[in-house]
Symmetry: C2
């Protein structure tokens, strides 16, 4: 009997995945091609389709089937057993939220987003404050529905990084804050600073675009099973194993923003193109956690795309894209420019050395809000003080301060820490990669990425959700997650770059 039940389960999961894919396509189109007047209708379509997929997944019928199969889990193959236990995990989590709460939350999300856009335009946090207070209230109720040990923030973290806790993050973040602040101080007062004068030019948009396509192809991104388009905020999405799409943005004033955007999203996309064929339209063909997902994008963007060997390979081609603009620019100059460290106000523009400090600040504010130690009204003051303490910069207004990120308006608290975790996972994996592939850097220097991609496919991508993030990082590196590899990576790279 369990044979046919498993088949039925896979069919139902396939249909649920189909609806989720339609939701993803509606989102993709909204960001990329949708005409402006279509926004309200698109909102209704997204709400309807999301509700349908939620209803399909949490229905008593689906739950009963899942329970039946789960009762016989010992008789299943390891892959089927994993499929069942992971699906049951999601089912238990999703059914903890009453449908009325799901609706209320979705409604407040739309409203909070609308108000946040308005408040940011006016650069006035006070306009957003009541809406944010409501959202925090909803998030605390959400945490109660999910249940938690220790901090209620743990229940929210679980959504993005399963098994991660406030307690664990506090230890890691304290170390990062101390070491990275110290490193940044040494860098900003260093005598050697990069020459950026040649970057102040106009950069042909088509040449930038073509260069991103070339690099993506070299990385191993399959354009027959994906595509790149333009959007205001770069992102990666998929509708199928064979339809993984990315976006980037192109600015005439920025020589590297389209490229680093493409490499970053390309890293995400290679992960999603690397799931197993047999996991298509099913639970296991998905990312383990946002932290692991982010490790893939950050490894490609920063450790590869901002490395000297990478630019030794590409500087010639880069020069040819802009005839007459870069005649005397060397790989070393590009390498120095693309790794410039400068404390600044905006997270998404931050360099590798300061980035985590932006995250730590947000983590501290979020936990304060969810645990009840911080009132929403106090956010601007706390934000600005921490920016001064951690980064030494003065915040001029709310728009470039506490209103800069979209996440809170979406009710996504617990999300930010995964960016930093991505940096740490990437660095820890990368130490292992350098051990496993001694010729890695000479391969990169000759534009050969298949060694690296093969390693990632074998050790990370193909597993999908077969291991949790802590299991995977231990399996791959023999150790639990640690901040040391990332700190060592920064110390080595930037000591040399800035002659510290």
């Amino acid at each position: 009997m369990s044979e046919s039940k498993i088949k039925e389960l896979r069919e139902k999961l396939g249909e649920i995945c189909d609806v989720r894919s339609a939701v993803s396509l509606l989102h993709w189109d909204q960001e990329v091609y949708m005409p402006p007047k279509a926004a309200p209708g698109r909102g209704q379509q997204l709400a309807t389709l999301s509700a349908i997929s939620h209803r399909m997944f949490t229905s008593a019928e689906f739950g009963g089937l899942l329970q039946d199969v789960s009762d016989q889990i010992d008789s299943l193959s390891p892959d089927d057993a994993k499929l069942v236990s992971e699906t049951l995990h999601d089912y238990r989590r999703e059914t903890k939220l009453p449908e009325s709460f799901v609706h209320e939350f979705a409604k407040e999300q739309s409203e909070a987003y609308r108000v946040w856009v308005e408040a940011r335009k006016e650069s006035n946090f006070k306009l957003f404050e009541p809406q944010l207070a409501k959202m925090i209230d909803l998030l605390r109720r959400k945490a109660d529905y999910y249940g938690y040990e220790g901090s209620p923030y743990n229940a929210l973290l679980e959504e993005f990084e399963r098994g991660m806790t406030v307690e664990a993050l506090k230890g890691i973040f304290a170390l990062l804050a101390e070491k990275q602040s110290a490193l940044v101080s040494r860098i900003v007062s260093a005598d050697r600073q990069p020459d950026l004068s040649w970057c102040q030019q106009k950069w042909d948009e088509k040449a930038q675009w073509d260069f991103t396509l070339r690099v993506l192809k070299d990385m191993g991104y399959d354009f027959d099973a994906g595509r790149q388009d333009k959007s205001v905020h770069p992102f990666t999405t998929n509708f199928d194993l064979y339809d993984v799409r990315i976006t980037t943005r192109v600015s005439r004033d920025e020589p590297f923003s389209a490229l680093t955007g493409s490499i970053h999203e390309g890293g995400h996309a290679l992960y999603e193109q690397g799931f197993r064929e047999e996991d298509r339209r099913s639970t296991l063909g998905d990312a383990i956690s946002l932290g692991i997902h982010e490790s893939q994008s950050r490894m490609w963007e920063n450790m590869i795309g901002r490395s000297l060997p990478f630019w030794k390979h590409y500087t010639g081609a880069f020069r040819q894209q802009y005839p007459g603009q870069l005649d005397h620019v060397t790989a070393e100059q590009v390498y120095a420019a693309i790794n410039q460290v400068q404390p600044s106000l905006i997270r998404v523009e931050a360099d590798e050395c300061t980035y985590n400090l932006h995250i730590i600040l947000r983590f501290e504010i979020e936990t304060g809000l969810i645990e009840g130690d911080l009132r929403p009204a106090d956010i601007p003051e706390v934000w600005n003080q921490k920016m001064k303490d951690y980064l030494g910069v003065d915040v001029q207004d709310d728009a470039s301060g506490c209103l800069q990120d979209i996440h809170w308006s979406h009710g996504a608290m617990g999300y930010f820490p995964t960016y930093t975790l991505g940096n740490l996972y990437a660095a820890q994996m990368f130490e292992q990669i350098e051990r496993d592939i001694p010729a890695l850097w000479s391969q990169i220097e000759s534009g050969e990425f298949s060694g690296l991609l093969g390693w990632l496919r074998e050790h990370i991508h193909q597993h999908g959700r077969r291991f949790t993030a802590p299991e995977l990082i231990h399996k791959v590196t023999g150790k639990d997650l640690s901040a040391d590899p990332y700190l060592n990576y920064l110390e080595n790279k930037y000591s040399e770059l800035y002659d510290l």
Copy 2:
């Protein structure tokens, strides 16, 4: 009570429309941007979402609600009553097909399409014949499920052109066949023939594209509520009143194919952008029939876009798009070239004088197949003989003969006649438009289309499904549908063009 029931009905209809919109977006993306390897996954997504919308619409719950409201139809406002009666019409039709049949039909559609592509590639009708025989059998069963009077083909026609019958079409088509064949004979043997030598050039693709955008904007197409993309076969689709999209194709060898494609689809799109705001996500905000839909595209493409006043306005701009290529070309030369009459093998490339003859041939074959007088095996012979009789051309192979159209592989018999009906509706409406807007042609000659669009919005577009096609054409022109206006239009236009 009926107040709240009507509200509930509208909400449910809105959700069903949302799912149908997602299906339309999945189709649009498939034709326009989807990477090739994504095709099988997209097929599954389309099947799942289509089944969900069918299930929502035919559910006992929805049927019960509809019945409740329908029982109180006399107490409803005229618009609500129309909404209910039209929805009930669709419900009764859609529930006549057992779900098992719907599945079987969908499965055979995919298979028949696959086999047709193969057969056309090999130019061998015999490969397609068994699949087509199965499809015809399914279509006859479909007609039985729907029920019909007279010919079973009437049940199929009903899907595309409600109320139209084989008997009515036979009368109209006999007249068209006789008159159009005679006209074509006079044209091909006329002394005056258009000078096409200047058309044999290469045409910059971006210049063509930009010209289509300009003309669409002038026509009144709202780009804030729509967009144009490229696809192999031009089409129009919508996901919302404020998201009506078109596609066109651009060929370096063809000066007019992108433009006429855009104007044609633009005509369809103006219809869909002209439905009422209050009919959004509901039954009435939709086309009455394919014939009426086609009247809008053909009026803009042929009666406007292939008129001399149109080219008196645009020839200057057209010349500027292709510097040095058109210096001595006049509006009259463009007008003559774009209206060249030449009997040929391919329907989609046919001119206004021969087009209906292609349709009549298909109609005769389809009714023969569905009524049982013609065997699928005999199609090629009958096809080739009719091409000779009606158009005087010799069919060389199946690919450019009876395998050229996609429709039969989709199981869409009864669809072709709507193209010809579109021509007739358009001409009959246009006689009225010329009476109602005496300055019409001087407006067109100065690139002013708002008079025409305003008339169409008032008399056609805004009504959506409030009137049937026969009701609408009578309401607008005071007469039942007749072939005379179209035949008069052709006679006048082409007598002058060819100096007959």
